[in-house]
Symmetry: C2
């Protein structure tokens, strides 16, 4: 029998949630950060109203209608005032117009023309400026292209949402990276590879005729942070996506996204000419094959005039590719690039390759293949490189390819979905992870040659540039499973636009837009978010450990994984724990992967004097008794890190519970329940890893730490046959 008390606890829990349905305050998270609830502070609200008495919006294209709609919603919601059109400019007016359409009677167009040029200032960039003429104030949002106005208006709305001073605006903003895309690993059966928030947003069965309203909200959300492209389908691509049946469906989505400045891209299967084209081969140097792709590209552009291009995973993890015909990645990419070139499309060719037959350290394989191809890629090819050399681990050093191919445009591939960071049940803010990678210095052209400068094209003078984030969206009502996972989508977009922003300012904006504008609430939440990724590294893979998660589904800890079809799909390959010590020696005495970095980086990582603790076991195999900077032995330090990571989750949980009644009830309860899972799983990681590594170290867990209450055997016997993967 369930004890009566348990019944009542459950009852109370659900009645609490249940009452949410009664409350008008209940927020299911669907609106993301685009919440236009009335600004509570009347003084601020009135000051805004005074400055936006009227709106003067020029143009009636589909983009401009979107701009007008969004602004109308925002002003209606935030200020409780409708959008009042007026063009006589006698009152304080918000002016939204392309540079060429600015009312010259009032404004000095030349001045704007100047301000909209300069260092790589893009058509997508915008200027927001306060102009005073006599007693009238004009807030001017202008740009060279319409999408610039769209981004400018979203920026302006954000200022209102976060209660910024808008009295004297002088903002100039232009995206540093040209192609800012989401990669959806969505299959045509609506399952999502590494999806933890329900299933694919794309309802293929009902497309092209049925348009879900959430498609539009998806576009709004992306546009609001400057994302301008979306790859709809999984890199492990079905060839069916290129059939006429599916291209019509893709076109329907492209039509919805177009006014939001979002281009659609598709992942293609390299063998499509065979799979659906009836050809015998897919050799990229075969003229029939080349013609097939050229025809296919023409067919696509007929349906989707602004189609973005192809994303390709080839000769990687079993996918077909040019090497099947003795050709190179460059041969494959260039064939597709030629097919897309007449239409303005690009190829995003993934560098995530590692060969079954190559015995080399996996951390070196992509580098070894692609460095040799530098200079061979067409000018509409971007080579897409994951942030680290293994696979989206909680922490990796930056990928050695960054900076190593000066003649090749490299784009970044980040993973927003938390494949290795607790799925959608752990609260982990990834803004700090993204920033750590973007700010990492490759030193390939002296100090300051950051990864960000490699991918924005500025370091080596490339005219195209790109960044991709593997999406964490799904059919869950709140889009991302965990409401805090929305912040990772948000942060990805903001950094894709401007990598000089700090993770903290982005988090602060997100909290204010999503949860509360009250500093007493913002600050503790900000603190949680800012430390969350470091905690997670600590309870999962401290000190440079990596790839010790559950087999296949990657759920939970499993450092004991061994004897699999490939060594580099096991855990023991990566941690290399034995009775002496632990860690992967990637210095000269080991795989020498460290040699792939520029000299200052190589030196820093190679030497135990300078190698940061964070990367210690990534690059070095060390004795259990090795003495760390902290004075602890490696074994003790490892234990302390694991315990500290988990302990901080408990504290995070408590800090969250302190917010009861201070934020929306439904969001509060949602996160409260998630934190229970998060804490359980952090302790699970800690216990399983410490107990497992202890079988090698043979050393006791420091006495000031509590003993795991379950045995290693218990953890090793856990099995999750239906964990999402």
């Amino acid at each position: 029998m369930i004890p009566i008390r348990k019944f009542y606890t459950i009852l109370l829990l659900f009645l609490m949630i249940y009452m949410i349905n009664l409350s008008l305050k209940a927020d299911d998270g669907y609106r993301l950060w685009l919440k236009y609830d009335k600004i509570e502070n009347e003084a601020i609200r009135e000051s805004y109203k005074k400055l936006i008495q009227k709106t003067f919006l020029i143009g009636n294209s589909s983009v401009m209608q979107v701009v007008e709609n969004e602004l109308s919603m925002a002003l209606h919601g935030l200020l409780g005032q409708p959008l009042l059109h007026n063009n006589d400019l006698t009152q304080n007016t918000l002016i939204i117009a392309l540079e060429n359409d600015l009312p010259s009677a009032i404004l000095d167009r030349e001045k704007y023309a100047t301000s909209l040029t300069g260092d790589n200032f893009s058509d997508q960039g915008f200027v927001i400026r306060t102009i005073r003429k006599s007693a009238v104030t004009y807030t001017v949002i202008t740009a060279r292209g319409e999408s610039g106005l769209l981004y400018g208006v979203f920026h302006f709305i954000r200022l209102l949402q976060t209660c910024q001073d808008i009295d004297n605006l002088n903002i100039k903003s232009s995206p540093k990276i040209k192609h800012r895309v989401l990669n959806h690993w969505d299959n045509l059966d609506r399952t999502v590879e590494r999806g933890y928030s329900g299933f694919s947003l794309w309802d293929w069965q009902k497309l092209p005729d049925y348009i879900h309203s959430y498609y539009i909200d998806y576009a709004r959300a992306n546009a609001s942070v400057g994302i301008n492209g979306t790859v709809l389908n999984n890199v492990n691509a079905s060839p069916q996506i290129l059939t006429p049946l599916y291209l019509k469906k893709v076109a329907a989505l492209a039509d919805v996204f177009r006014p939001y400045g979002i281009k659609v891209y598709l992942s293609i299967r390299f063998s499509a000419p065979i799979d659906i084209g009836g050809l015998k081969r897919a050799d990229p140097l075969d003229s029939e094959v080349r013609q097939w792709w050229a025809d296919k590209a023409a067919e696509i552009y007929e349906l989707i005039p602004n189609f973005g291009g192809f994303l390709v995973k080839a000769n990687s993890e079993g996918q077909p590719g040019p090497q099947d015909y003795g050709r190179t990645h460059a041969d494959g990419a260039n064939m597709l690039a030629e097919a897309l070139k007449p239409h303005g499309g690009v190829v995003m060719w993934r560098a995530f390759v590692y060969d079954n037959k190559v015995k080399e350290d996996r951390a070196k394989q992509a580098y070894n293949e692609f460095v040799l191809l530098d200079g061979q890629f067409n000018d509409n090819v971007l080579v897409q490189v994951k942030n680290g050399p293994i696979d989206f681990q909680p922490r990796e050093p930056f990928h050695p390819l960054f900076g190593a191919t000066p003649k090749t445009s490299l784009m970044m591939e980040f993973q927003i979905t938390q494949e290795y960071l607790g799925f959608s049940t752990h609260l982990v803010y990834l803004g700090t992870l993204f920033k750590e990678v973007l700010d990492a210095d490759t030193y390939v052209r002296d100090m300051g040659s950051t990864v960000a400068k490699v991918i924005d094209g500025s370091l080596h003078g490339h005219s195209i540039s790109g960044i991709a984030g593997v999406a964490n969206t799904g059919t869950d009502r709140n889009w991302t499973g965990h409401i805090f996972a929305q912040a990772n989508w948000y942060a990805y977009g903001r950094l894709a636009w401007d990598h000089t922003l700090t993770a903290e300012e982005i988090a602060r904006d997100w909290i204010k837009m999503t949860l509360s504008r009250d500093d007493d609430i913002v600050n503790p939440i900000l603190e949680m978010m800012m430390e969350s990724r470091e905690n997670t590294v600590n309870y999962m893979t401290p000190l440079g450990l990596h790839h010790i998660m559950g087999w296949d589904h990657h759920y939970g800890p499993a450092p004991w994984i061994k004897d699999k079809p490939r060594d580099d799909w096991t855990s023991v390959y990566y941690h290399r724990a034995n009775e002496e010590g632990i860690g992967f020696d990637r210095t000269e005495t080991g795989s020498n992967a460290v040699s792939l970095y520029a000299k200052p980086v190589r030196q820093k990582f190679s030497s135990l004097e300078t190698c940061p603790d964070e990367y210690l076991l990534w690059f070095h195999h060390l004795d259990w008794t090795y003495v760390m900077r902290s004075g602890n032995t490696l074994w003790d330090e490892l234990c302390y890190r694991y315990y500290d990571g988990a302990e901080r989750v408990t504290r995070m949980k408590e800090a969250w519970n302190d917010l009861q009644d201070k934020i929306d009830d439904e969001i509060y309860n949602h996160v409260k329940q998630m934190m229970i899972i998060h804490e359980k799983e952090a302790i699970w990681w800690r216990n399983a890893c410490v107990l497992y590594f202890q079988t090698f170290s043979g050393l006791p867990i420091p006495t000031d730490l509590v003993r795991p209450d379950k045995s290693l055997e218990y953890y090793m016997n856990l099995s999750f046959p239906f964990a999402p993967k």
Copy 2:
């Protein structure tokens, strides 16, 4: 290039939908029929308020808290008035109390005690009665059991929602069937077999810790129509559901559903003792196996004290079962029944069996197996029989097992999900289908031996009875994909409670609760719904045709399916079209399946004089030139039916479009888009079937009908590799 005009059409469409997000009127369908929007008619509202000045609610169990919550929401919403507790009974009061708790000072308890007994009056039944004492009016809802109060309150709320007169209530209602369950064909990976509304509601990965608020709304919806059980997982069951890991998750759901009077059941895999129990065999007569199931039942009841029982698909379509060990279905069912018996659970054993090796007409196989077992099943076994002898076709005659096993409790299995009726994109109201089956007369005990009386146990005097509906729910925001598919869930529940209701009155209630209370709107919608299933039969499978849908996924028409691993998985097996004629001869000259029915039924179906057109080709193979009652030849009649079915969908679409601005915008647009798909697919069915059958008849399509604009070859070449299945 897409023509500019097309761009603008799309733009307008999406801006239209988009504006919905601005409007407070927008209804995404999530609330189902439990909408408590304020009653527009003030006179009615005031009359209700006058009668419900106060509420006197006795009891504070979890059920009573649910009752109070629901009532509070309803009164707040419908009347704009909070629930005002009062127990001095000096004002007009709504009294909700168990019979024993009724305030005796005011009410004659004896009288109620009498009214709550009688013909099979159940603990779940309720009485609602208006009592006047001096100037005070009491509206009394009472019952013997708490769930009766729950159902009584939902009934009362429905009266308000549909604006019924509540001045002089004298309602007595008790469910005619004991176990009223939904069958979810939901897999543990959240895919749903034959699911067309997203994915499984059960978020197994996050259970037991994370409780989605929609679990509660699911329970509310079911309770509101009297559904009192839910089988959580697919009949093609994973054995994992019975592992401790999953049972904890199941228990969490059971805890949520319990206060709503809903029991949880599980589908089990017959080989579970081998799959997860480590046994070598699953022989139901093996004592080790019997002990394993007894222990498993005890383990389940420890976690879930009110667990409902097991649903079993055995020796059917590849599933393991007792016949693997030379035992009978009764042996298998009884073993499980014994395991559950001490805890009060039941076994629902499916009769949907047909053997690969048996060459007999599939329509006879289940009958042949189960009739022989009559009298052998334990008293807590229900044999679950699909409504027709094949498989949930748009129309089938009732299953010949109904009435043929007087010593066995048979339960009905209806399919709410539209596997064969247009998935979730066709507007097909199934209330009429359900009623047709329930009202069908088996004649096994003279006239009036309806199927309904077989399954409610009254015909043969059984004390347990059951009905199952294969659920159409999923993660789509509106639960069922098509908002009109909600009506099928609703109608199933209402009929499960009271099979004497008409399909029309149920539809009328549903429309009023879901779409509009305005008769000018209700009536045209009612008309659509009432004719919708007949239309669908006509454009899919008129005149008794059946099982001619797409292979495997069952999407769209494919009467040409042949040469598959089993004959009875093909279309040609069922329609038997040749140059002479069409139809399955199930009379004495053919398979003689008609002989399985009682004499009057047998005679009626056997004779061409009396066999209804609806079942003609189900029972007879007839020449193309056979002259129908209508005077048309069979070929012409077939064409006219196909065209009429499709034509009526077009008219339905137009009728819907006439409702613009009369109902909620979001719902209007949702259905409008669905109707476009519905019409396309109705024409697709019509064209493909007529063209295909024409290859046999060699006769022209009647000249007053338009020619299909595509060739048969076109239709035969269509392929849908990712259609849901």
